[in-house]
C-alpha cells in the first residue's frame, strides 16, 4: 500500500466535514462536521505511521492527541451550546451572530 491510498479517503473525509462545518445551521450538526474533519486526520496519520515511519512512536502519539482533541472539542462545544441555550434559547448558529462583522 502507498501513502496516497490513505490520503485520498482522508482528504474526502476532511472535505465532507469542512462542508458540514461551513454549511450547517444547527450547532450540533456543525460539531459533527468538525468531528469528521479530525476523523480524516486520524486516518492520514495512521497511514503515515504505517508506511513512512513505523519505527518511532511519533505517529501513534499524534493519533492519541487527535482523539483527545475530538473528545475535548465536543465537550467544550456542548458546554457552550448549553450556556447560550440557557441564556437566550439559541440553538442555531445564525441566531448567535453577535461577533459578526
Amino acid at each position: 500500500m502507498t501513502p496516497q491510498e490513505f490520503l485520498l479517503p482522508a482528504a474526502a473525509l476532511f472535505a465532507v466535514g469542512l462542508y458540514g462545518a461551513l454549511s450547517q445551521q444547527s450547532i450540533v450538526m456543525l460539531m459533527m462536521g468538525l468531528e469528521l474533519m479530525i476523523n480524516g486526520l486520524v486516518l492520514a496519520v495512521g497511514g503515515f505511521w504505517r508506511l513512512v515511519a513505523p519505527a518511532g512512536a511519533d505517529g501513534q502519539v499524534l493519533i492519541l492527541v487527535a482523539v483527545t482533541v475530538m473528545a475535548l472539542e465536543m465537550a467544550m462545544g456542548f458546554a457552550v451550546t448549553t450556556a447560550i441555550f440557557r441564556a437566550r434559547e439559541v440553538d442555531m448558529t445564525d441566531a448567535a451572530g453577535d461577533l459578526r462583522g
Binding site: 500500500m1 502507498t2 479517503p9 482528504a11 462542508y19 450540533v28 495512521g46 493519533i63 450556556a83
Partner: protein, 176 residues
Amino acid sequence: MTAQQVAFWALAVVSVAAGVAVFTVDSMARATLALLVSLVCVGLILLLTGLTYLGVLVILMMVMEMMVMAVFMVMYMMNPGGLMPMKMVHNNGGAMAVAAGVFVLLAGGAFLVPWPVRRGGLPADPTRALGVAVMGPKMLVMMVVGVAILATMVATVVLAVHRGRGDRPGDPEAEP
C-alpha cells in the same frame, strides 16, 4: 490486490459514504449513527494497519462519544425522529465550493508530493512502543493532554452550571 487492500478500501468507502450521509439524512438520530459508522470504520482501518490499541481506543471512545451526542441531540433538536425532511443550511453553494476546492487541493497534494520511503521496520509490539514513548521521551505530550483535559472539565462545568460564570453565591449584588 491483497485481502488487506480489499478490506481497507471497503472500510474507506463506507467511512466516506457514512460521512456524506451525516449531512444528507433526514433526522439527527440517523446523522449521529452515520457519524458513528464513519468513525468506527476509521478505527477498524487502524486495527488493519496494526495499531491494535489505538484502533480499539478510537472505537470505544467514539461509541461513548456518539451516545453522549445522541443525548444532546435529543435535547437541542427539532425533528429528532426524522418524520419530515430536514435541511437546515446556510450558504450551501459556497460551502460546497470551498469543500470541493479543499478536496482537490489535498488529493492533488497527496499524489504530487514525493512522499519519503519507509524508514525502519514495524515494531514488534506497537502498543508497547507507544506506552514506552508516552512514559519516556513523549511524556510532555501526555502531561499537556492531561492538563488540557482537566482545564476542559473545569471550563465545561463553569459554562454549563445554572448560574453561569458571572455571579458568585453570597454576592449581595448578584442575589435576586
